[in-house]
Amino acid sequence: MLVTLSSALEQGLLYCFMVLGVYLTFRVLDFPDLTVDGSMTLGASVCAVLIINGASPFLATLAGTASGAAAGIVTGFIHILLKSDSADTNYGPKLISGILTTTALYTVNLRIMGRSNIPLLGETTFFDKLGSMLNVRMVHWPLVATLAVLAVIVKYLLDWFLHTDLGLSMRAIGDNEQMIRSLSVNTSVTRVIGLAVANALVALTGSLVAQQQGYTDIGMSVGVLVAGLAGVILGEAIFGTRSVSWVLFSVIAGSLVYRTLIALGLRVDWIKPTDLKLLTALFVMIALGAPVIRRKLVKS
């Protein structure tokens, strides 16, 4: 049971960067960014290829993260190209630009890897290297502790960023785009920066997951966006949204809760691991749909 818990926390912490990225796009920028499924594998591919070619795992992780930022920038520019001037609240171009990038990234990822998966067994990963520096074996609780420290660092960096001049304008874009434009913010460029930061976070998860599970696979991120949404929804619902600093913790905690629920679900006999995507999709659908249905019921 304790081992299950440690591995659930491990997964929750590995994926919390991705969940933060999803929070940043869906909630802060009001941009439902579908690049996530592509940029996570991109981060994992770049990281894995660098590692098997002898790069330092720290450098490889950093490069993987940066590749996600590039993917976000591409989505941002496609959006600038597709959107019409006036329609700020039009989600069509936002959705399409993410879909286009993700589709293109499928090819890019296969090209980067040269095949559909890269095993990292026997290679020195980020965790091995850090473990040997700290003189601990990076499994179970030491791994959880390391990831927790990383999550806290990223959380505070993001918190600081969202309170800078740039971060404030970014938050205002999702809140009232016309207003922030009439305060002289170039919303197109600012949105691109936001997408870059968000997808960098997603790719950080990709890089770390590849190194923790010991391989990169072209299909490793299928459905990860919905899992991210589940984390955001759970975090906001359970821990609240009283301020930006607070909600960043909520969202990280949401990721932990989500992975714990998954681990518990797997202990139920009749649930197969392959059922989880359906269950997650159902959960997100109910969470998003419940308020709508309730409103309709009240009206009628």
Binding site: F161, D165, L166, L168, S169, S182, L183, S184, N186
Partner: protein, 286 residues
């Protein structure tokens, strides 16, 4: 809380004008919506207007006259089909909206339009303070900016300066509109555009907002264009008045003439130039 809370005005000196107020000129501005379709609307058909630095021009006119379109075209929300927009002699008609916003402040009719609801009062003010400046990785609300923000907030005498960390979503419409006005003016725009900015407020709040507008505009000597449906307001405020009808300026009243003008006189003038009466208009109801 001390006894001082009753009168914040002692600590609230109005800022001095920076002398940035611009002269402004529209030359033959044209704007057509749904061009080349059956629904084509000529919203502006050749608007000429010259405004001197520090002028406060009130704009009246019937529904659909093109008043909002004129302001939107000046701010860059809509592009022009033809004509020039000169700010201190420089053509700004090719600049995108956000670039023009570096020197144009705006307040809209809807109190929700001018503020970001999920951000705090001081965060909103801080965004406004950075109008036209670089927005990098500097901390948004630092102690020196907090001081400037506090001084500005106490101008409106609503006690907003005492709760800078309150989310703007929790404020009333009047409070949000007062903030919108502060945010439009805090960085000393060279041109201020007000589009029926008191129309959505109840009469008492509208009156205080108008009084605040007058104070801020005159203290900073801002070049201002204010659209209103209320003839009394149009006559009471500003040093010039223009009337628009069917996409044109049909009446342009200068400073000396405006001082003597009455509502009745204005209605008569409209009949003289437009040959129609105002009866279908909500102007008379106000």
């Amino acid at each position: 809380m001390t006894a001082a809370t009753g009168s914040p005005s002692d600590s609230c000196a109005l800022p001095r004008p920076s002398g940035r107020a611009a002269g402004f000129e529209c030359r033959d501005i044209r704007k057509t919506f749904y061009r080349n379709s059956a629904f084509q609307i000529q919203a502006l058909c050749g608007v000429d207007l010259t405004v001197a630095p520090g002028d406060f021009v009130t704009i009246i006119g019937s529904n659909g006259a093109g008043k909002s379109t004129l302001l939107n075209v000046i701010a860059g929300t809509f592009s022009v089909d033809g004509g020039e927009l000169l700010l201190d002699g420089e053509d700004i008609s090719k600049l995108p909206e956000h670039a023009r916003a570096a020197f144009i402040g705006r307040v809209f009719q809807d109190p929700r339009a001018g503020t970001a609801p999920s951000l705090t009062i001081e965060e909103n003010m801080c965004l406004a303070l950075r109008r036209g400046r670089r927005r990098g990785l500097h901390m948004g609300v630092d102690s020196s900016r907090r001081q400037v923000i506090r001084e500005n907030l106490c101008l409106v005498e609503m006690g907003l300066e005492k709760r800078p960390k309150t989310q703007v979503a929790k404020l009333s419409g009047g409070q949000r509109q007062a903030m919108s006005l502060l945010m439009a003016t805090i960085a000393e725009p060279r041109l201020l555009l007000l589009d029926e900015h008191t129309a959505a407020l109840d009469p008492k709040v509208a009156a205080t907002t108008m009084e605040l507008t007058e104070r801020v505009v005159s203290a900073r000597r801002l070049t201002t264009l204010m659209v209103t449906h209320n003839m009394e307001l149009a006559l009471a405020y500003g040093n010039r008045l223009i009337m628009m009808h069917a996409g044109r300026i049909i009446l342009n009243v200068g400073p000396t003439e405006k001082k003597e003008l009455t509502v009745a006189g204005l209605v008569q003038k409209f009949r003289d130039v437009a040959g129609e009466s105002f009866t279908t208009d909500r102007m008379l109801l106000d």
